[in-house]
């Protein structure tokens, strides 16, 4: 699934490890989500949206 996570992270000048710390996941998980290799769970998608103060659909694009 395409997403804006890398852009949002870059805007805040966070490393993947820092974002992972905020989201309570591993750095590898952040990398996999950023590159579209892994779709986050609904709970994690909510955490990401809440962290960036955005709606889930503003961050993730399911291509439909």
């Amino acid at each position: 699934m395409k997403n804006r996570l890398r852009i949002l992270r870059a805007e805040r000048e966070w490393s993947q490890a820092e974002l992972a710390m905020h989201l309570e996941v591993s750095r590898q998980a952040v990398n996999a989500i950023e590159t579209g290799k892994h779709d986050p769970s609904l709970a994690l998608a909510f955490r990401i949206a809440r962290l960036f103060g955005m709606a889930i659909h503003e961050i993730f694009d399911d291509g439909l």
Binding site: K2, Q28, A32, L44
Partner: protein, 152 residues
């Protein structure tokens, strides 16, 4: 969210990925041990690493969903291997039933032990080691697919 002083950190979560590789290395050593007969200390360490990797994969409470998704590929492969293994034993037993009936008709004496029981396939340690190897292969496949595969 309430503060949890024992909550796993990012480093704790990242460590799980390494633990799996230690487990894979331990399993490979154990496979070589079948032929090379290593020192007892090395075998013990390899068994510890191999079992640790499997244990980490089976305990999702302190891991993230990405790690679990990689492990689930390994688990699926391992379960598929067990099913294939049981199907092969099933065919051995079916063959024994047919062979035994023919043997009894010809000589009046039935074979005392089944082909499956005589084969290497009912050796518990080798079977478990094989399933462990297949789990780690599945994990490695999923990891390599994500690492080297094309991004969306």
């Amino acid at each position: 969210m309430p503060y949890d002083p024992f909550a796993p950190t990012e480093a704790d979560r990242s460590r799980h990925y390494w633990l799996i590789w230690f487990g894979a290395a331990g399993t490979v050593l154990l496979v070589f041990d079948l032929f090379a007969d290593f020192d007892t200390l090395i075998t013990a360490l390899a068994r510890g690493a191999a079992s640790g990797g499997l244990l980490v994969s089976a305990m999702p409470s302190r891991t993230d969903t990405y790690f679990q998704s990689l492990c689930s590929v390994g688990h699926r492969w391992a379960v598929a291997a067990v099913s294939v293994y049981m199907i092969v034993l099933f065919f051995f037993d079916i063959a024994d039933v047919a062979y035994g009936a023919g043997h009894r008709m010809a000589s009046g004496i039935a074979p005392s032990e089944s082909t499956a029981d005589q084969s290497i396939m009912t050796d518990g340690w080798i079977t478990l080691l094989g399933v462990s190897v297949i789990f780690y292969c599945g994990y490695a496949y999923a990891w390599a697919r994500d690492r080297f595969g094309r991004a969306e």
